[in-house]
Each structure stands twice: as structure tokens, then as C-alpha cells.
């Protein structure tokens, strides 16, 4: 190709990338710059003036009680949603992965929570967990009125809402497993439970790794559940990091604190997701591809 042709090709490419780059430039990269800028400056009480304070604000906020409590609550949220959601999702998928009359009906039911938004799911559990009209509103383990258990009540709505997605992805993973392998194990006299743990689960491990990371990121970003079910209460016991960032962002004097926490959330998400990937990836069986 001649030089003019190459120039034209490059210009065409830049033209095609431009719309995306404009959006990314303003709402990702300028936003990132502003986050760091806000972190380095302190706002006055009305948010009308600011002064440079350097990294002191980072150490102050990220080492402070508020961030640590938010981080702890967010991590608890991960612990209460990810394993339970994963186990239930696998159970649903394994149960629905068979040839049976009417199995499509059950598969549709199991997948159906993908149609509920997080707000709709939260309203559903707002009623389920209501102490007066809810059936599980007075169960101690998930009592929304008790600061020691409220986070689990909120987590319950997440687990339920994510089941559809988890089910769809695990079922697709199961369907991708070559039948011969499972049949060979059956011929070798493996009982179903052993067959599941020694043949199916290892072959499913790439799917599981993907789900662990995705569900963890979802949990670290949970907001609507908290906003609808508890408003962060009782006594701040369900104020996840994102809820704190949202709340601080509404108060002009605390915008900088919120910005530093957002950077903290970014770093935590990166560390947790990367850590899970590195830790679990060694145990993942990718087949011979």
C-alpha cells in the first residue's frame, strides 16, 4: 500500500475511534484525574473553596475508621453472597442439566431472576424481610433491624437476584463438557457424587473462576440493595463502600473524602479480583486447549 493509502486508512481508523474516545476521555480519564485532584485537595465547609493538602488526605481517609468499617462491611457482603450464590447456582444448573420432559420449563424458571433488576429484587426482599408482613422478617440470622445480622439480610436479596445469571453461565459450562468424559467415568464405576467432584467440577473450573471474580465485583459494587432495604442502617451496619461514596458525594464538605474512598474501592477491587485470579488460576483446568 502506498503512503497516501496508509494515511487514509489511519485517518479512517481515528475517525471511527473518535466517538468512543471522546466519551472515555471525559467520563473515565478526566474523571480519574479529578478523583486524584480531589484527593489532593481539601474542601471548605460549603465546597466553594479548596486548598492543597497533598497525600495527607489519602493516609488520613484510607487509614481512618470510616473507610475501614466500609471496607469490612463490603468484604462481609462478598463473603455472604459469593459462596452461597455459587453453590446454589451450581446446584440449580446440575439439577437442570438432564434430559427430561418439561426440563425447559425448569430451566426458564431458574434463569428468570435475570429479568429482575436489582431495584425490583430489592423491593421483593424489602417485603419478604419486613418484620410485620414478611415471612422471613423475624428470622434472627437475617434480621434487618439488628446491626449484627442486617448485612446478611441485604446479602440474601443479592444471592437470589444473581441466581439466574449464575445458573445460565454454569449450565452453559456443563453443556460444553464432552459427554464421553463423563460416560467414561461412569463406565469406570464412579458414583455420581465422586464423578461430580473428580470429573465435572475440574472441567467446570474456568467457568467457576470467572463467576467467582464477577460475583465478587458485583458484591463490592452493591448499592441499590442497601439503598432500598436499609439506607445503610441500622447504626451504619450496612454502609458498604459504595454507599459511603454515594453519601459523601452528596455533602459538599466531604466530596474529597468520598473521592479518596472511591480510589480505595478501585484499589481494593483490583487487589481482590487479581488475587482471586492468581490464587484460583493455578487450580483451574483448561483442558488441552
Amino acid at each position: 500500500m502506498n503512503r497516501r493509502g496508509r494515511l487514509r486508512e489511519a485517518l479512517t481508523a481515528y475517525g471511527m475511534l473518535l466517538p468512543s474516545l471522546v466519551v472515555f476521555g471525559v467520563f473515565f480519564f478526566y474523571a480519574l484525574y479529578r478523583l486524584i485532584y480531589l484527593g489532593l485537595h481539601q474542601q471548605n465547609r460549603t465546597g466553594t473553596a479548596e486548598r492543597f493538602v497533598g497525600f495527607s488526605q489519602f493516609t488520613e481517609v484510607l487509614g481512618g475508621a470510616e473507610f475501614r468499617s466500609g471496607l469490612w462491611i463490603s468484604l462481609q457482603y462478598v463473603l455472604w453472597t459469593v459462596p452461597a450464590g455459587l453453590i446454589l447456582g451450581v446446584l440449580l444448573a446440575v439439577a437442570a442439566h438432564r434430559r427430561l420432559r418439561g426440563i425447559r420449563f425448569f430451566q426458564t424458571v431458574f434463569a428468570s431472576t435475570v429479568a429482575t433488576s436489582v431495584a425490583v429484587a430489592s423491593v421483593i426482599f424489602f417485603v419478604m424481610l419486613n418484620p410485620i408482613v414478611g415471612y422471613i422478617g423475624t428470622v434472627p440470622f437475617i434480621d434487618l433491624a439488628d446491626p449484627t445480622s442486617a448485612i446478611r439480610g441485604v446479602a440474601l436479596s443479592s444471592v437470589w437476584q444473581n441466581l439466574g445469571l449464575t445458573f445460565i453461565i454454569v449450565l452453559a459450562g456443563l453443556q460444553a463438557i464432552p459427554e464421553e468424559l463423563v460416560e467414561a467415568a461412569t463406565v469406570d464405576g464412579y458414583r455420581p457424587v465422586r464423578r461430580f467432584f473428580t470429573v465435572t467440577l475440574p472441567l467446570l473450573s474456568p467457568t467457576m473462576l470467572f463467576l467467582v471474580v464477577v460475583l465478587t465485583v458485583f458484591a463490592l459494587q452493591a448499592f441499590a440493595q442497601v439503598d432500598i432495604l436499609t439506607q445503610g442502617g441500622p447504626a451504619g451496619s450496612t454502609e458498604t463502600l459504595v454507599f459511603k461514596i454515594f453519601r459523601l458525594g452528596q455533602e459538599p464538605v466531604n466530596v474529597s473524602t468520598g473521592a479518596v474512598m472511591a480510589i480505595g474501592l478501585f484499589v481494593v477491587t483490583l487487589i481482590v479480583a487479581l488475587g482471586q485470579f492468581l490464587l484460583l488460576n493455578r487450580r483451574v483446568h483448561y483442558g488441552d486447549r
Binding site: L17, Y30, R34, L92, A96, R98, I169, V182, E183
Partner: protein, 299 residues
Amino acid sequence: MATVDSVPTASGVDLGAAPRMGRPGQRAKVLRKLGAYTLLGALSLIILFPIWMTVVRALSAPIKYIDAGQPVYPIQPEWDIFARAFERGDMGRHLLISAVMTVIITAAQLITSVLAAYAFAFLRFPGRNLLFGVFIATLMLPIEVTLIPNTETIRSLGWLNTFQGLTVPFLATAIGTFLIRQGFMGVPKDLRDAARLDGFGNLAFLWRVAIPVTKPVIASFAVISFLAAWNQYLWPRTITTESSMSTVQIILRPLAAAAINELNIGTAAALIAAVPILILLIIFQRQLVRGLTAGAVKG
């Protein structure tokens, strides 16, 4: 909702199955089937019970329902509750706002993603790897992290409580670019050469070859983009400071939290909000499943 393209044998992955080899007896077969249906039925309850109870709560006036000892079926069902909730929540307006916002975001994401994907898949230009890295980097910055500065930007543009504010930050997405680029890379080289010989320019090739060939991928992305936009919560909650511009997701909280004796209004509103998307997903379930599993089962 999931498709069963490759139906496994009954002995596939079957925890409840008897481990017998060869052909099981007729009796064992019936028992196994019964066991399977019992298990599936019990698991369905986990999903369906909360939904059923929401319907019951919507149909029953809370006072009558509590007086009756909170049964699992509706008490003196009031079928007009949906009409009342619709009017009370001004839901026509908020559903319309959600619909307009979602259509703008989905349409824009399709256009920007197809264009960017085309550049990355078919064109050569200086800085290609760097710009690809820029796209990847955006995936690390979800709206939860950029919430505060982006709200600041929208406010300084005077876009609080407007459609611009609701949509502009989401008019482009790296996920769409990657998915569609992946599809474009699968376009056979023969097709490209043939198109070039026929004198197709880039736009003609994009419009008449690349897009038609990758239609399934583009459709899958359109469905997950639509779903994500419709279900958004944190961003519209933050930048619609006046409830008159709230999306339907955002009005559910004040409706549900209003008062215990109006709980039927809130639950009916939640059901109304869920119906349009449920219908769409039933129509487009194939695309949805393909879109959701795109990243998961590559191996």
C-alpha cells in the same frame, strides 16, 4: 430460559441418579424421574416463592392480609391495584423516561462499538496497541468509582435531571467494542479479499459484509446493553435530584417505603416495572444467553 443445544444423556451429570450401569429396571427409572422432579420442584420454590409472595402482597390490602394471618394466597384480591399503582406512581411517565434513556444508550453503544471494533479488527494505524490499552483501562473504572467526579461534570454542564445527564456517560463502552471486534475477527479472509476486489471501500465493507455476517454477536450485545441500561440504579439515583426525571427503577424505593398500609402499591409498582423487560427477555432469550455467556465459556 437457557437453551439446550446439546442435550446431555440422562446419565450425564446427574447427582441424584442411581450409579447402576447398563439399563436400569423400569421401576428404578420411574423412581429416578420422580426424584428428579421433586428436586427440580423444590429448587423452583427458591426462585418462585419470593415472586409469588410479591404478587400476593400486591393483590391483598395489607390490613386485611394481616388480619387473615398472612396466608400464602391473596385475601379479597383487588385487581385494580395495578391501575392504582400505575396512577399513584405516575408510572407511565417513569417507564417512558426509562425507555427513552435505554433506547438512546443502546443505539449509541451499538454505533460507537461497531465503529471502534471495525477500526481495531480491520484497520492498521499508528498507536493501535496503545489505544486498545486505553479501551481496556476503561473497564477498570466502573461508575461506582467515577461517581463523584462524573456527577460534578454533569452538574457543571447543567445536565442534572436531563436525558443528557442520564445517557451521555454511557454512549460508548469497551465491552461492546471487544465483543463485536471478536465477531469481526471471525469474518473469513476470503470475504475481505473478494470485497476488496469488488472495489468495496471501508464503509461499504462494514455495512454490506462485516455487519451482516456478525449479526448474532451484535444482537447479543444489543440485548445485554439494553438490559444493563434499563436496570441501572446508582447513576440515575445520583443525578436525578428531582423525582420528575427519575427512571422507573428509582421511583420503586419511595413507593415501597411509603407506609406499611400502602405496601400493596409498592409491590404492584415493582411488578409493573419488571413486566416489560420480562417480555423482551422471553423474546430475545437466545441472544441474551449468548451475550451473558460470551466471556465465560471460552476456556
